[in-house]
Amino acid sequence: MKARNSGLLAVAVALIVASVLIGSRREGTEFAGTDGQAMKTIATLNPDYQPWFGFIWVPSPEIASGLFALQAALGAGVLGYYLGFKRGQRQGRQSRSDAGD
């Protein structure tokens, strides 16, 4: 499992690194978000369209980066807790059965 997972993670990282390298070679690359590009497409399809509702609250970019980090940290924290818990549970079970033999 370990070797296979390390291999899969290596492929995932390689894909992202290759994406940055290939993407940077294109002209005018700024790694903009596709959500924003979709809005630009809307503007070309229907130049008269005006958004009829605005954001209730827009965090400043500095705060937004912190909140994005918070989202990732919460997710990674809970996920990591679960994975560590299960691994520890298994080890505890094994060492108990070793002691019982």
Binding site: L9, L15, G33, G75, L79, K86, G100
Partner: protein
């Protein structure tokens, strides 16, 4: 895949919200029942939601020179069934809408429909088909997560196409334009999501066999093993 606040005409916004609401209500019911009947899987449910949380927070670069994010909803969909993910995905999208100005309140219904309903259902259907065809589990999981991710973005393209048909080529032409914005960027990211989901499932098969059997993700052993 977030449609930005105010960028769906009112009628579309209301219609997608109405389409998503029953799924979210049913999801609340399913999650409640699951936690009551199988309290031992609560932690795994939290972990699956957490996976979607972290994966959808990461905006990854793509070969096209633009950025997008994966959805992370495939994992929970294949473990717990797609209906459970409607609630978890809505929580993720609500967090991003209210705190990050990412997505929108008026477009929440449409975004929930693509990321928390369509994507998980596609992932689930792909895994079921792969199991039916006796494909290796890892291959089924990979394809399920990857195609669920892509389906989310194609549904978003469809939603935008319905709202903003191309003056010359109509809804179909508009769909191709929006899909052209999303698909090339999303394809490598969908592959990454597929790989990460397989990594987690590999871990679960090693350490959480009892929970996976409980959820019927893995078949139950014929003879019940004596616990040491």
């Amino acid at each position: 895949m977030h449609i930005t606040e105010g960028f769906l005409p009112p009628l579309h916004a209301v219609a997608w919200t109405a389409a998503s609401l029953p799924f979210v209500f049913f999801s609340v019911y399913r999650v409640n029942r699951l936690m009551r009947e199988k309290p031992e899987i609560k932690l795994l449910l939290a972990a699956s939601g957490a996976f979607a949380f972290v994966i959808s927070a990461l905006k990854l670069p793509s070969v096209t020179g633009s950025c997008s994010h994966a959805t992370g909803t495939g994992l929970g969909a294949i473990l717990f069934g797609p209906s459970v993910m409607a609630l978890l995905g809505t929580i993720v999208l609500a967090f991003q809408t209210l705190l990050l100005a990412h997505g929108g309140v008026t477009t929440l219904g449409a975004n929930v429909f693509s990321m928390a309903i369509a994507g998980p259902w596609v992932a689930y259907a792909v895994l079921r088909s792969a199991k039916g065809l006796k494909a290796p589990l890892a291959a089924g999981v990979f394809l399920a997560a990857m195609l669920g991710d892509l389906a989310t973005y194609l549904v978003t393209a469809g939603q935008l196409a319905l709202a903003f048909p191309d003056p010359a080529s109509g809804i179909v032409g508009s769909f191709l334009k929006f899909a052209g914005v999303f698909a090339p960027t999303q394809l490598p990211l969908a592959v990454v999501e597929g790989l990460l989901t397989v990594v987690i499932v590999n871990f679960l098969r090693e350490y959480s066999g009892d929970e996976l059997q409980n959820l019927r993700f893995l078949p139950k052993p014929l003879v019940s093993e004596a616990r040491p």
